[in-house]
Every structure is written in structure tokens, then in C-alpha cells.
């Protein structure tokens, strides 16, 4: 342990230098005096005695120096000395420091934000236990090909999977359960999630407040209990903790709130979670629907360690063989089980956007570090004399490099700190983007130590990158030239000038690339928002009608309500048309399936969308009749099996034929218990196309429209076209429906334009914001770099300008001279950037819609913008050059 003690003592001695020096002095003086006294006693003369004593000691100062080296920690002392010196140097040029730190902070901060979204939103969004081992079974129909058949299971199937499998640690299941919540006289719809009793343990997340589910919660006769979701708890109860133990009337039954789940438990984004007994008797689907009881469940299993998805699938298939007898209609003749990983299902394709964004951020870091590098080059070039002097006085190359690197590292450290602040602020902004990011609801984007570590890591790397080359370069210079040269001028720092110019060209080129990316994303965003979905989305009110199941259990009762409501709505001034359909136009989930058309056999599935609607649908949405007729009121009233199809269907299935009079059957109805089986619809008309695949960016699907009364299943959505802002009509529409019957309620009310903004424009908008920010920062940095280098080169050429002006050059000539040089830098940067863009935009193609990756607009506008901004950055230094007074400039010669 003695070395530890020694280190400690040495470290401490760093701070008591003066006292220790005094003591050493006294000790050595004492030593000499004793020695001299001895020598005198031995008969030497006083001079000889003193000389001998000093000689034997080995020199007074040398001994002290030698002693001091052993006293403290030599390298640490040297470092502290260098540090103090570096700080003094940096303090002398505050402008340079501020710009360098700012450049670093922007680069590091923004990349940390992107990394935070990537790390927290995609790599580790979940707090669930072992999320990588979770997967959901899906039955695939392997009769002809391999198509997903269903991913939802009845509870008895879930129990069988849980009890009879050999490859899973546990199985849990859940399903959405939208229920009516009665409070203070008003009824509203809330979104619950029914889960198996083991859900809390299975997902491995403890409740934030209260308790999880207990065994007796699901016993027959037990009082129903629920756990609240965090977001709903905050919204509805303002995060009040006393909510535990109180009751909520949900679907006419009192439910006791026993706990609140934490924010990062966000399965299905539910308002509340309700347990369901494993042993519930399986209801008939008709009863389940009438009573709003959950019927189909989505299953998640946690695979045992090192068990592959294939093994689990085969295992579940073996279990399912015993279930086929019980659920004959729910299994295809030939099938297999596929497992969809939990992580894959939720994270979606934000991943690819973020990969590209990370790449862009890498470019940004290059820009910002080369920016600081060129600033440092300018800075150290100005110090050439100082460095030469130090070299002449014996400072070693390594020592000087260390000194210069230390300055870079101070800048890097401050930049890193500032960058973390920028990141903190940026993450807060990113959080407000919320849904636009489309990260899972469980994700917590906040800065954590991973992000901070990342920021520190990239700061270190960029510092090495920008610090090392100027340091090496500055030290390599020819000593003689710098000591001789009274002032630094253009010729003496020509090599430095070339490096600086190269760095600026590189920065301009990279920011050109980022600008082209941003330009493409902007163009794509504009294309999406300008896209014509086939009808006008202006002034369309949309909502879902939720019928209380026990009251409206038949087609006829629902139809009676709808019929009366639509009639009354049409009479309201300002309402142009109103209709009801299974779903709203542009809705994210079109139902589509294979169709059978007599006389048209086909091998591959003809995926076709279908919509049940009232006769006013076409007018309300604004679809044009192209052939035949539309649905008539009597078709709808009687649920007649007739269909109006869209143009795409005709083009695809009846390329050179009149479709009117042909029959079409949707095979999916044969599998839906409540739908008419073997039902053929007669095509009576053709209407114009509109975007119906759930996303504007997807191609239009063939689609058929039937009277919505042909079956009792399916939702009922209200679509109302108004003469002006549909928001004004929301209350009126609600009141009209209330007059018909107060029990059905409207939920999800919105307008089509708002819906578009919240769905189809989200992803493009996120890309717009992120790539746009990236390009903006890149451009700013490149301009700062350009400005710095131009300013410096103007300063170096002051004498030359002075001479030129003395010889009769006009200020306009000088301006052109400087601008030409700037233009050359910007121009070569732009050309290089265009070249790079040309070869790399292809990877952006997946992020674009409605524009080609080689969009002329982006490829013309981006260089023009860069050119204009670049000229401005050159103009300011150039104007300074024209103000050079020849007399003053020459005096320095």
C-alpha cells in the first residue's frame, strides 16, 4: 500500500508547493552549513570549504530541481501548467472560442437528439421483461401459397396454448375493449384493454400505485376491478392518488380502481386494464357482440431461452391440432403457425428514417468538426511566430503538439457540455413532436447516461479529428521562415491556405448534400399535402357511432336510427350531405380480401377492399358515377346484394369488359360468423377512384361498395359534408343524433383534414423537421466556416490590397478579387456536393413520395440557395477588403 500513500502525498504536495519549496531551501542550506563547518574544522579555507560542500552536494539548484521532480506528480504538474497556458491563450480570442464551441454544440447536440430518438425510441423503447423473446402467433393459410389467416384467438385457445406448449415460459393475451363510461350524467366512450390475469407478471411491470391483479379478482361473483393507464389517470383524474379504491361505472357496472400503471406500461394505449378469468365460459359470438364482451384475443408468448420462433410455431401448431375439432370454422384446411416478434410489430419503419437521419447527422458532425479545424488552423497560423519561438527555445515537437491538442480538448469539452445542453433542449422539443415521431408510447426519449456517453464519445472523436491536424501542421512549419517573417502573409501560409480551402470546400459539399436531402424531403412533403385523394377533403366531419349492444342488436334497429338521423341531418342548414359507412374515407384500416368472380379464375389473391355504406355516401364523399347506377335508398333499406365498384376494380378485373351485371363474392365473409356466407353481389355501377388503401402513399386498391345493411357486423361511421368549417357543426350533429336517441354516442369525432394531418402527413412532417433541421445546421456551419476563412484570407492580403490600391485599383476590383476567390470555393463545394448527392440520393428513395430522388427542383434550388448564402458570407469580408487604406496597409510593410 506504500505506493498508494506515496501517490496521495505526492498529489497533496501539488497544492503546497510554496511551503515545501521553503522547507527544501532551508534543509539544503542547513546541509551546506554543516558541511562547510566540517570542512573548516578540517582546515580548509572558507572559499575551499564552500566550494567543496557545493561540489559534493552536486549543485544547489540541480539538487532542488531533481528533488522537485520526485516530490509531485511530474506529468500532472506539466499538464496543469499547459492547461493554465491553454486557458490563457483561449481567453485572448473569445470570438474564436464562441464560434468554435457553438459549432461543436450544434453538431454534438443535434446528433445526440437523433441518437436519443434512435436509442430510446427504437433500440430500447420498452421496460417490459425480455421484450426480445416476446412474439405473437399468427395462423397462416398454406392451402394455396402462404397467407396470414388470423392472429386473434378465442380464450379457450389461449388457455390451451398456455397449458399444453413446451417452448414458452408463459402466455398472456389481451384485446381492446371500448366501453361506455357514465359519469356526472354524461356518457363517453373510453378505450379499455381486457387482459388475462397474469398480464402484470407477464409483462414484468409493477403498478405505479396500488396493486396488480389478484387471483380472487377473476373468481365468479367477484367485484370487477380495473387498473388505470397513466395517461388517462393524468388526464381524467389529474394524477390524483386518492383515486385508488374509488369506482367507475363502465358499461353499467361499477368497477373498482385498484391501481395505476406507470407511464411506460402502454399496451394498446388503453385508458384502463381489466382482467378476465382464464376459465370464462366461451360465449357465442353473437352474444359476445351484443353484450360487448371480448371475444377474440391477441396472444403474446415469451419463448424459453434459445428457442427459435420456428420451434415455437411448430409447438403451437401441435397444440392447435387438438383445437381444430372445436373451432372448425376458424382453421383453414392446411395451416402453419408463424410467430411475429413483439419488437417488430410495434416499431415499424421509423427505423429506416432514423438510419438515414443518423447518416445525415454523421455528415453534420464532419461539417462541424472540419469547421472547428479550419478555425483552429486560422488561429494557430496566427500563432506561427510564437510556436517558432518556443521551438527555438527548445520545446519539443511532442510538447507543442500536446499544448495545441490541449487547447482543442478544452474547446471540445466545453463544446460537449454545451452540446449536452442543446441535446437536452432538443429532446424536449422532440418530445412535443410526440406522435409525429411514431415511437412506441412506452418510449422515454429523455436524456439518459447512454446519450450523455454518446455525446462525450463523439465529442472526443471530433476533437481528435479537428485538433490533431492543425496541431501537426502548425508544428511542422519551417522555423526559419516564421522567425524571419515580420508578419504572416499569404505566401508564407500557402499550405495552410490550401488546407483551409479544402476544408471549406468539403463543408460546402457536405452541406450541399444535406440541402439536397432536405430539399427532396420538403418537395415530398408538399407533394403529400397537395395530393388529390380523389375527392375534396375540405369541410368533412367524421365520427364513429357507438351503439349500446343490448339495445341495438340487429341490422334493422341500427338502420332505423341511422335513417332518421341522416334525414334530420340533411335538413340542417349548412349541412350538404350526410352518410353512414363501415369506416371513414382514408381510414387507416381498409378491409380487403380475395374475391371470387364467376368466370374469372385466378391463382393469386385478388386483394379487394370493401365498404358498407348508405346511399348518400357517394355524394357526400364526392365520387363521380362513371357507369351504371349508384346504390338506391331501397337497396340500402332492404340490404340488397348489389355493389358499386371503383374504377381500379374495373381496370384490374374487367380490363375490356362491361362489369355491370357481373357477380362478385368476398371470400372473407365466408369466414366471418355474422356475415352472410356464400354471398354474391351484383355489380350495378362504377364510380371514380379515391385513395383507399389507408395511406396516401400506397396505390389505390380495387374496391366495392355495398349497402351497409347487408350484415350487422362492421362499425358505423358518420360522414357529413358541410358548407363551411365542419368544427362548427359538431355540436349540432351531436344534438340531432341525441334527439333521435340519446343512447348511441359519437366518438372519434374529427374532420378529414385534421385526420390527414394526424395520420398521413405525420411521417413526411417528421422527415421535414428532422432533415430540415439537419440541413439548416449544416448550412449555418458551412457558412460560418466560409466566413471565417474568407475573413482570414482578406486579413492576410491586406498588404497586397494596399499595394494594388496604391497602384490604382478601384474598390470594385478588390471586391471582385475577393468574391471570385469565395465563388471558387463555394462553386467547387457545390459541384462536389452535387456529385455526391447524385450518387447517394437513391438511398433516400424509400423516404420520398410523389417526387423522384432526382427531382429537378431540389437539385436546382438547393445549389442556388447555397450559392446565394455563400456569396453573402463572402461579401462581408470582401467589403472589408475594399475599405483598406493603402497608407495604413503599406506602413506595416
Amino acid at each position: 500500500m506504500s505506493w498508494l500513500r506515496a501517490t496521495f502525498v505526492r498529489f497533496r504536495s501539488l497544492f503546497r508547493k510554496r511551503q515545501l519549496d521553503r522547507e527544501l531551501n532551508a534543509e539544503l542550506t542547513g546541509h551546506l552549513e554543516l558541511h562547510i563547518a566540517d570542512n573548516l574544522r578540517a582546515g580548509m579555507t572558507p572559499e575551499a570549504a564552500r566550494r567543496d560542500a557545493l561540489l559534493k552536494l552536486g549543485g544547489f539548484e540541480q539538487t532542488k530541481e531533481n528533488y522537485r521532480d520526485h516530490r509531485g506528480i511530474a506529468w500532472l504538474e506539466a499538464l496543469l501548467r499547459d492547461l493554465r497556458f491553454a486557458l490563457r491563450i483561449l481567453r485572448k480570442s473569445p470570438g474564436f472560442c464562441v464560434v468554435a464551441v457553438l459549432a461543436l454544440a450544434l453538431g454534438i447536440g443535434f446528433s445526440s437528439v437523433v441518437f436519443s430518438i434512435f436509442y430510446n425510441g427504437i433500440l430500447h423503447p420498452f421496460t417490459y421483461r425480455d421484450p426480445d423473446r416476446l412474439a405473437s402467433p399468427i395462423i397462416f393459410d398454406t392451402r394455396d401459397g402462404d397467407r396470414p389467416f388470423r392472429g386473434a384467438f378465442q380464450l379457450d385457445e389461449v388457455v390451451a396454448f398456455r397449458n399444453q406448449n413446451h417452448t414458452l415460459e408463459d402466455v398472456s393475451a389481451l384485446t381492446g375493449w371500448d366501453a361506455l363510461y357514465a359519469r356526472r350524467g354524461a356518457t363517453e366512450q373510453i378505450h379499455g384493454c381486457v387482459v388475462t390475469p397474469n398480464a402484470i407478471d407477464f409483462w414484468g411491470v409493477r403498478p405505479l400505485l396500488g396493486r396488480g391483479f389478484l387471483d380472487h379478482d377473476t373468481q365468479p361473483g367477484a367485484d370487477p376491478v380495473i387498473l388505470l393507464g397513466y395517461v388517462y389517470w393524468q388526464k381524467e383524474f389529474q394524477g390524483n392518488k386518492s383515486v385508488i379504491g374509488s369506482t367507475m361505472i363502465i358499461d353499467n357496472r361499477a368497477h373498482t380502481i385498484v391501481g395505476v400503471m406507470p407511464r411506460r406500461f402502454y399496451l394498446w394505449g388503453a385508458d384502463f386494464y381489466k382482467p378476465i378469468s382464464w376459465t370464462r365460459p366461451e360465449p357465442a359470438i353473437r352474444d359476445a357482440m351484443a353484450n360487448n364482451e371480448p371475444y377474440f384475443f391477441f396472444v403474446t408468448g415469451r419463448a424459453k431461452k434459445d428457442i427459435s420462433a420456428e420451434t415455437v410455431g411448430a409447438d403451437l401448431k401441435a397444440v392447435a391440432e387438438t383445437l381444430v375439432l372445436l373451432h372448425k370454422e376458424n382453421y383453414p384446411e392446411k395451416f402453419r403457425f408463424g410467430m411475429r416478434p413483439f419488437l417488430e410489430g410495434i416499431i415499424g419503419d421509423l427505423r429506416r428514417t432514423l438510419y438515414l437521419l443518423l447518416a445525415s447527422v454523421g455528415l453534420l458532425l464532419f461539417i462541424s468538426s472540419s469547421n472547428v479545424a479550419s478555425l483552429l488552423l486560422v488561429h494557430t497560423s496566427g500563432r506561427a511566430k510564437e510556436i517558432a519561438l518556443r521551438t527555438a527555445l527548445g520545446a519539443s515537437r511532442a510538447r507543442l503538439i500536446r499544448q495545441l491538442l490541449l487547447e482543442s480538448f478544452i474547446l471540445g469539452a466545453v463544446g460537449c457540455l454545451a452540446g449536452i445542453f442543446v441535446a437536452y433542449w432538443g429532446v424536449e422539443v422532440a418530445k412535443t413532436l410526440g406522435t409525429a415521431l411514431q415511437t412506441p408510447g412506452e418510449a422515454d426519449l429523455s436524456l439518459n447516461w447512454h446519450i450523455v456517453l454518446f455525446a462525450i464519445g463523439i465529442s472526443f472523436l471530433t476533437t481528435l479529428l479537428f485538433g490533431l491536424s492543425p496541431a501537426l501542421f502548425a508544428v511542422k512549419k519551417d522555423l526559419r521562415v516564421n522567425l524571419q517573417g515580420a508578419s504572416v502573409n499569404e505566401s508564407s501560409s500557402q499550405r495552410g491556405g490550401k488546407i483551409r480551402a479544402g476544408l471549406v470546400v468539403g463543408q460546402v459539399a457536405l452541406s450541399m448534400l444535406l440541402l439536397v436531402f432536405a430539399g427532396l424531403v420538403v418537395r415530398s412533403f408538399i407533394a403529400v399535402t397537395r395530393f388529390d385523394p380523389g375527392f375534396s377533403t375540405k369541410n368533412v366531419f367524421i365520427a364513429r357511432i357507438q351503439f349500446p349492444g343490448h339495445q341495438y342488436d340487429s341490422v334493422e334497429s341500427k338502420h332505423a336510427f341511422v335513417e332518421q338521423s341522416l334525414t334530420r341531418l340533411s335538413a340542417v342548414p349548412g349541412i350538404e350531405n350526410a352518410a353512414v359507412a363501415f369506416s371513414t374515407p382514408l381510414d387507416g384500416s381498409p378491409s380487403s380480401d380475395d374475391v371470387t368472380i364467376p368466370g374469372k379464375p385466378h391463382d393469386k389473391a385478388w386483394m379487394t377492399a370493401f365498404e358498407g355504406c348508405s346511399e348518400g355516401y357517394f355524394r357526400t364523399v364526392g365520387l363521380r358515377l362513371l357507369r351504371g347506377r349508384l346504390l338506391s335508398p331501397s337497396d340500402v333499406a332492404s340490404g340488397r346484394r348489389v355493389a358499386v365498384v371503383n374504377r381500379t376494380l374495373v381496370d384490374k378485373y374487367f380490363p375490356d369488359q362491361d362489369p355491370i351485371g357481373h357477380q362478385i363474392k368476398f371470400n372473407v365473409f365466408d369466414r366471418v360468423p355474422l356475415a352472410p356466407h356464400d354471398a354474391y353481389f351484383e355489380i350495378v355501377g362504377v364510380v371514380s377512384d379515391f385513395s383507399n388503401s389507408g395511406s396516401l402513399s400506397e396505390p389505390i386498391l380495387p374496391e366495392a361498395f355495398f349497402p351497409y345493411t347487408f350484415a350487422s357486423f362492421g362499425g358505423r361511421s358518420l360522414i357529413v359534408r358541410t358548407s363551411n368549417d365542419p368544427g362548427f357543426f359538431a355540436d349540432t350533429i351531436r344534438r340531432v343524433l341525441n334527439e333521435v336517441d340519446p343512447n348511441p354516442i359519437l366518438s372519434h369525432s374529427s374532420t378529414l383534414d385534421v385526420y390527414l394531418h394526424e395520420h398521413d402527413y405525420l411521417r413526411p412532417r417528421f422527415r421535414l423537421i428532422s432533415f430540415g433541421t439537419c440541413a439548416a445546421i449544416g448550412l449555418t456551419l458551412a457558412l460560418i466556416g466560409l466566413f471565417g476563412v474568407m475573413s482570414y484570407s482578406v486579413a492576410l492580403q491586406t498588404q497586397e490590397f494596399g499595394v494594388r490600391m496604391a497602384l490604382g485599383a478601384h474598390s470594385g476590383d478588390i471586391l471582385m478579387l475577393v468574391l471570385r476567390k469565395g465563388l471558387w470555393l463555394v462553386g467547387s463545394g457545390i459541384l462536389l456536393g452535387l456529385l455526391a448527392s447524385f450518387f447517394s440520393v437513391r438511398i433516400l428513395q424509400s423516404q420520398l413520395w410523389g417526387v423522384s430522388a432526382f427531382d429537378v427542383g431540389a437539385f436546382v434550388l438547393a445549389p442556388l440557395a447555397l450559392l446565394a448564402a455563400g456569396l453573402l458570407a463572402c461579401y462581408l469580408p470582401a467589403r472589408r477588403a475594399t475599405r483598406v487604406d493603402p497608407m495604413i496597409a503599406l506602413r506595416y510593410e
Binding site: S2, W3, R5, A6, V9, R10, E23, L24, A26, E27, L28, G30, H31, E33, L34, H35, A37, D38, K56, L57, G58, G59, Q62, T63, N66, Y67, D69, H70, R71
Partner: protein
């Protein structure tokens, strides 16, 4: 150079410890003279090298120092052995004897008795 110096430093430290054990508290000059007397010319060229060695021993806690007054009434820093120093001396001396014994056997060319 470095190795030789290390050996020298190690030897010097051992000699300092032994001197302090034999003579009790002593100032730097006294230690230097004593070592010079017993080791011949070893230290005579450079008393100064003693001081870093003293510093190192003190940093390691084997000796302690305090200011006192010398025989001829001068202020001097006196060093004395600490308990850790005494143990270190035993250990070092043993090691040293072993090393020299091995070296002596080796250099004399005799095979070790096996």
C-alpha cells in the same frame, strides 16, 4: 542507465534505513556522511541524490521527519525510522541477503546442492 539507477536508488534507500536504525534520528548531512564512511566512495561525488531518496522514503511512510537543532546549534531536518520503516528494513535486508547469496553462488560457479 535507468536500471542501474534503480538499483542504486534501491541500495541507497536500504542504506538510509540501516543508518537510521543504527544511529537513531539524524539529519540529511549526517546520513550522507555516514553512508560515505561505510560505503567508501559510493556517495562522495553527489550528496544531492540522497534527498530525493529521503523524499521517496518519507512519501512511502518508512521514515518521518521533523525540524530540530543540530549539535552546533543549527536548524536541521531530522529523519527517523517509523515502525513501517523498521519492517521494510527487515524485509529489504532479507531480500538483499538472499539476492547476494544467490549471486555469490552463481558467480562462484558452484552448482547448488540438490
Amino acid at each position: 542507465m535507468g536500471d542501474k539507477k534503480d538499483v542504486w536508488q534501491g541500495t541507497l534507500a536500504l542504506m538510509v534505513l540501516k543508518t537510521l536504525e543504527a544511529l537513531g534520528p539524524l539529519h540529511g548531512y549526517g546520513i550522507a556522511r555516514r553512508i560515505e564512511q561505510t560505503s567508501g566512495d559510493l556517495l562522495s561525488v553527489n550528496y544531492g541524490t540522497l534527498y530525493p531518496a529521503l523524499l521517496k522514503l518519507e512519501q512511502e511512510g518508512y521514515i518521518a521527519s521533523e525540524w530540530g537543532v543540530s549539535d552546533n546549534n543549527r536548524k536541521a531536518k531530522y529523519y527517523k525510522l517509523t515502525r513501517a520503516g523498521r519492517k521494510q528494513l527487515e524485509r529489504e535486508a532479507r531480500d538483499w541477503q538472499q539476492t547476494t547469496a544467490i549471486l555469490a553462488r552463481f558467480l562462484s560457479g558452484k552448482e547448488p546442492a540438490s
